[in-house]
């Protein structure tokens, strides 16, 4: 049963020229199915009205604060209005909209940190469109981490891809493949394992999280015959984490680790590079994987896709990942209560 007075999820609108607003509006209009938890959108209300009308969706959009969102949500879409001039130009990002996009994220995070919202779900942004407005962070996640700084200390965000019980954390992300081996250090893996173990317990209600490390090289290096990193870098990190009382195993050959009977023995898997994490997730989840940021004082999820400019404003494109992101944020916010 939905509690009208419970705090809502905070959904940041993302790039107005992208598909994010479309999906937010579509998910709102299917809320009666009961699968969509109550949320409030941080963005520009007038723009959202125009996009809804373009999509032929009859949605009432009302300015609101999070405290009223639960009561409004069954009837109308509550929007925490970020003022600005945001024209509805699907597929064509406007420099003038950038400040609204940036402020919407900041407001969503601030309200969530203050406890008025339960979690942040972000729609995709288009970084290039934001740089002109003074956005100086390497990415969306880094910006969220900066907004979560406490006493001047920015937490280390950890990206996780999740689909049902398959949870994968890439230890390195958007770097050329040839740079990966240099970036994998025992210290990085230990820190990754610590954050992961802690958040699996706190955010997923897993009492004793079981974590597996994938190997870097084919066959996890075959005892040092196909590369030394598995033996000399990853194995010591596993041993150190074990020493700390964390239930961790590996490194395992990545190809057999992701065979379902094997990954199911673990609550999460640490992959060494982007595609090692994304290949299994996409193979299992198609278009419904969720991107989760661990290591922050707030819950943050996002759909696992970009702005899809070619689909924006058309009503096409799958809402599966965004829907899953809302549902997972809802569950994670409830964990530990």
């Amino acid at each position: 049963m939905i509690d009208d007075h419970a705090a809502p999820l905070a959904v940041s609108m993302g790039e107005p020229a992208g598909i994010g607003p479309d999906l937010i509006l579509r998910l709102f209009s299917e809320r009666k199915g009961g699968e969509v938890p109550p949320f409030i959108v941080y963005g520009n209300a007038q723009f959202l009205r125009e996009r809804a009308s373009r999509l032929g969706l009859s949605i009432e959009i009302v300015g609101a604060r999070p405290g009223a969102a639960g009561v409004i949500f069954p009837h109308a879409l509550p929007v925490c209005d970020v003022e600005g001039d945001v024209p509805d130009t699907p597929g064509e990002p406007q420099a003038g909209s950038a400040s609204v996009v940036i402020e919407a994220i900041a407001a969503a995070v601030a309200d969530t940190r203050a406890g008025a919202c339960r979690a942040v779900v972000t729609a995709p942004i288009h970084k290039a469109a934001l740089y002109g407005a003074g956005f100086s962070h390497p990415g969306h996640t880094e910006y969220l981490a900066a907004l979560c700084a406490t006493d001047g200390v920015t937490p280390l965000p950890l990206m996780m891809l999740a689909h049902e019980d398959l949870r994968v954390v890439p230890a390195t992300i958007h770097v050329p493949l040839h740079e990966v081996p240099k970036l994998i250090t025992t210290e990085l893996l230990i820190e990754t394992g610590r954050i992961l173990s802690r958040d699996l317990a706190h955010r997923f209600d897993i009492a004793v999280p079981r974590i597996a490390f994938a190997g870097l090289n084919p066959h996890a290096g075959e005892a040092g015959t196909i590369g030394l990193e598995d033996r000399d870098i990853i194995a010591p990190a596993v041993a150190a984490l074990e020493e700390e009382g964390i239930a961790v195993q590996g490194p395992f050959p990545a190809d057999t680790l992701f065979y379902p009977p094997h990954w199911r023995q673990h609550d999460a898997i640490v992959a060494m590079y982007h595609d090692q994490a994304l290949i299994p997730i996409k193979t299992v989840a198609f278009d419904s994987a969720v991107n989760v940021t661990l290591g922050l004082p707030i819950v943050r999820t996002s759909p696992d896709h970009g702005t899809a400019f070619d689909l924006a404003g058309t009503g096409r494109g799958s809402a599966a990942s965004f829907r899953a992101a809302l549902k997972l944020a809802d569950r994670m916010a409830e964990a530990g209560r």
Partner: protein
């Protein structure tokens, strides 16, 4: 009874018994008891009668085979049943169970050699083997890297030869294989990719795939994201695809490797060329662990084996799935028949 396929007499296939400590003995026995296999191929098995009988016991199957003491007698034993050339090379009680051992490696190596010689001598049109354990093979063969290299050395073969992973709906070939990840980028070249695309196309045609369509996987995340996460796509992979198209090969890409196998599932391609080992193996094993076949193409005869390993964790329980081994035999049989047609 001399069974024949509609296309003519069954191809002769030499089957080497693999590592004795894992599931290979029971898989070999189950293969010999699978009608689809014995209908599709005239099998000559190389190994030890005692190990095979133990495998039949574990697998719960009855063997209907002829047993001969030497390869010279194999032809004369031709009654239509599979023939075991009993090399008398291993007492099963000597094998440490579920352990990679030199004794197991020596057995598998001996059987493989005999099977290869049989085929090289023109007495078999394809070679198959049940899984080897690489550590055991290394214990008796210095420099044992993978099967391709071993065969290359055995046959004195200098031509191209490569490994493919084959599922019913998609083939996977890779530009680099068992090398450290740190060496992958340097090993990728326009020429290597082009050669691999041509080789994949030719091998698929040889296997009876009428219209190969090959998707090239990118090296870097998001296919390099326009050069932001690596420049190999722009400088190497895209030109290689252009070269391939200019040669008339049905190729597209480079596609981000996290979604390239979804293209195969949707029928947008039937082969994926990946840049490195795990890039293809993760998806292939997830999509069809129980049906995956490893094919080594390029030698004068095809070599096929199930893509899975020796499965020490379930050895001796009789629960090993013979599906991938059956697929391996059937692919070898198809390729042998096709080889006759194009010879």
């Amino acid at each position: 009874m001399t069974a024949t396929t509609p296309a003519g007499p069954r191809p002769a296939i030499a089957l080497a018994m693999g590592d004795p400590a894992g599931i290979s003995p029971e898989l070999t026995a189950k293969l010999l008891a699978t009608e689809a296999v014995t209908d599709a191929a005239a099998l000559t098995v190389f190994g030890d009668r005692r190990v095979l009988e133990r495998g039949a016991e574990i697998g719960g199957v009855t063997l209907d085979i002829a047993v001969v003491g030497s390869v010279e007698d194999a032809a004369a034993a031709g009654t239509g049943r599979p023939v075991l050339v009993d090399l008398g090379n291993l007492d099963p009680t000597d094998v440490p169970p579920a352990t990679a051992s030199a004794i197991g490696g020596a057995f598998a190596t001996d059987n493989f050699r005999h099977a290869l010689r049989h085929a090289a001598g023109g007495k078999a049109e394809a070679v198959c083997f049940t899984p080897f354990n690489k550590q055991a093979m290394r214990a008796v063969n210095t420099d044992y890297d993978d099967e391709s290299r071993f065969v290359r050395a055995e046959l004195g073969w200098s031509g191209a030869a490569k490994e493919f992973n084959v599922l019913p709906e998609v083939w996977n070939a890779r530009v680099t294989s068992h090398i450290p990840l740190s060496q992958v980028a340097a090993a990728i070249s326009r020429e290597a990719i082009l050669a691999e695309l041509q080789f994949t196309y030719d091998t698929m045609r040889l296997a009876g795939v009428e219209a190969p369509r090959i998707a090239l996987a990118a090296l870097n995340p998001h296919a390099g994201d326009g050069g932001n996460f690596g420049r190999e796509e722009i400088e190497i992979l895209e030109p290689a695809v252009a070269d391939a198209i200019a040669q008339g090969l049905p190729v597209d890409g480079p596609w981000p490797s996290d979604t390239v196998f979804l293209r195969a599932r949707k029928g947008q391609c039937n082969a994926v060329l990946t840049m490195y080992h795990d890039q293809g193996q993760i998806a292939m094993k997830m999509m069809g662990f129980d049906l995956g076949v490893t094919l080594i193409g390029g030698f004068p005869f095809p070599i096929c084996t199930p893509a899975h390993g020796t499965a020490y964790d379930i050895a001796g329980q009789g629960i090993a799935d013979v599906g991938a081994s059956v697929q391996a035999l059937l692919l070898a049989s198809r390729m042998a028949l096709r080889g006759r047609a194009t010879a």
